[in-house]
Symmetry: C2
């Protein structure tokens, strides 16, 4: 078996460019790596950000794709816990240093030298992708593979804080923004046992939010509705990238409540310290989760039959799929298929 | 024994006024109340804020004083856990509703209808003061009574977050602002087992901070020093009332670190969400602590012989004491004595 592989991918050749077929060769697999045959790959807004070089760290040709469901095709010489044929997930991170305090503590997702799957490496908009074996997570039997890709970035981003901040099943929680991340958050939280409120400004999403597990909806642009919810929530997760009047949302927190950001507007948060002090409230943020937490998420999603709601496109129609994502009309996440 | 008492106090008769002798009568003690003979009473900056009606909730004549060490003089008919002669502390809160979710959870300090000791009631700048028995906490034998008053507001304000947010003895922590609150925080944290850094802009306080338990000091006005401390602290407690460049301090937090406010500038915090997200960091605030936590603080202070550093004035020289507080020269807290 040769360790040299030809990978057929789609790449942007410049910032904001359309995706063109791009073939590249990779050499011998590192002993701690695996090579995956990509079955499905979700498209995330951060793929667009990287294609557009919004964060100033893109290298071209740029192969996006970091919500991968793949089948292990080759395992490196030192990999003992994965075998050829195992179906695994690969998310935003493809490698960890393995020896920093975060890695040693099971917080590999906070490793300051973790490698992004599409940052100075080529991602999953391709027929194959490589990653460190420690960064891919076996997908348990029972998970619907077609829709599972978005769990690897969008899903874990909203699941991880429930674990990290010990959201309780008796909590009253809210989700701001019902999109790619928010709709999965509704499903996780309702199955977590919580009372779930969806904040959305979209009339068309209200009924959908209720069907996905929300018990109530509030209009995120209606000041009076938000004010009437004062002192109601133990935990709010914000998935939006726009600036809202965050002090209004802080006031909807109960004592000891937390407003947690997984989406970020560039404008500062503008929150008053006194409203934090008076109710012992917290503001926080978090990125994706560790491999261990991704494993917990798979298990939880499997037990409760939680699936992202996706629209499928063949990989060959990737530019059409991206246009659909940009339209804002996708319900709620787009997945590319190599089948 | 008569239940009617004449109380000799010092009161401001108008916003910003000097304190004048003020005598008032109180009627029969409520069944759940106690009356204390005030032994000592600390002066807190919030006494000045109330005297000056900075928060718009002052009523005149206003008797400040909410860092009381007193001896129980009369107990109400229903009070079974306190007896005449017991030495107790009374802080910012004099009564709790006793039946809200916060009260039921042992978080009486977050009770939304808790009564402030100097808000629409008369406080401890007096020979006597009354409070609900549930709001006064016995002072254990061994605590130095003369210096203990400031534990009841300044002390518990910095002790409470260590309990609430489970600061670990292995944590690297920092205190911003070495004054009435900050100097007690240094003593608590060094005895908690932490590595302690003091942020101060005062040259004269650096050596004092080291003598009070800080292992290191950093100049809170030196941007380069703060930047060099990137990624260092698990927990930072800010006691200052001025606007600092909070994003710089957020960057000194390690992954999962927390910047906690017990002092509040009126300006919004202006913190970027992305720096919270990337390191799973938190921002939070808290007010004073519950009776249970005050009890824990007394026990901890007693075991480690922790005392606020105080300057003593007789109660009769209260205006002189307040002028000293306003000068900013007090090291570090002022206590009035009735002896």
């Amino acid at each position: 078996m040769s360790n040299t592989t030809t990978i057929n991918a789609f790449a942007a050749n410049q910032a904001g460019g359309s995706l063109e077929p791009f073939t590249y060769e990779v050499g011998a697999l590192e002993p701690n790596e695996v090579e995956l045959d990509v079955l499905y790959c979700g498209i995330c807004h951060s793929d667009l950000s990287m294609i557009n070089n919004e964060w100033g760290m893109s290298e071209y040709p740029l192969v996006g794709g970091h919500e991968v469901i793949g089948k292990v095709a080759i395992v490196g010489a030192d990999v003992e816990h994965l075998t050829v044929g195992t179906v695994v997930g690969l998310g935003w991170q493809s490698a960890y240093c393995g020896h920093c305090e975060s890695c040693d503590s099971g917080d590999e997702n906070l490793c300051s030298t973790a490698q992004g799957t599409i940052v100075a490496r080529h991602g999953g908009f391709a027929d194959k992708v490589r990653a460190d074996a420690d960064s891919v997570i076996p997908v348990p039997d029972g998970i619907d593979l077609e829709s599972a890709g978005p769990l690897l970035c969008g899903g874990i981003t909203v699941f991880n804080p429930l674990v990290q901040f010990e959201v309780k099943s008796t909590d009253k929680v809210a989700v701001i923004g019902i999109g790619g991340l928010g709709h999965i958050a509704l499903k996780f939280l309702s199955n977590w046992g919580c009372e779930v409120t969806a904040f959305t400004s979209s009339d068309s999403k209200r009924d959908e939010a209720l069907s996905m597990g929300a018990h109530k909806t509030l209009n995120s642009r209606d000041e009076a509705e938000i004010e009437a919810a004062a002192n109601r929530f133990d935990f709010i997760i914000s998935t939006v990238n726009v600036k809202l009047d965050w002090n209004r949302y802080v006031n909807t927190l109960r004592p000891k409540g937390r407003l947690h950001f997984v989406g970020a507007a560039l404008e500062p948060l503008d929150i008053g310290a006194m409203s934090l002090i008076m109710g012992q409230r917290s503001i926080s943020g978090s990125p994706v989760g560790s491999p261990s937490t991704i494993g917990k998420m798979f298990d939880f999603a499997n037990r409760h039959q939680i699936q992202p709601q996706v629209e499928m496109f063949p990989m060959s129609r990737i530019n059409e799929a991206i246009a659909r994502l940009k339209s804002g009309e996708a319900r709620y996440r787009i997945v590319l298929s190599n089948e």
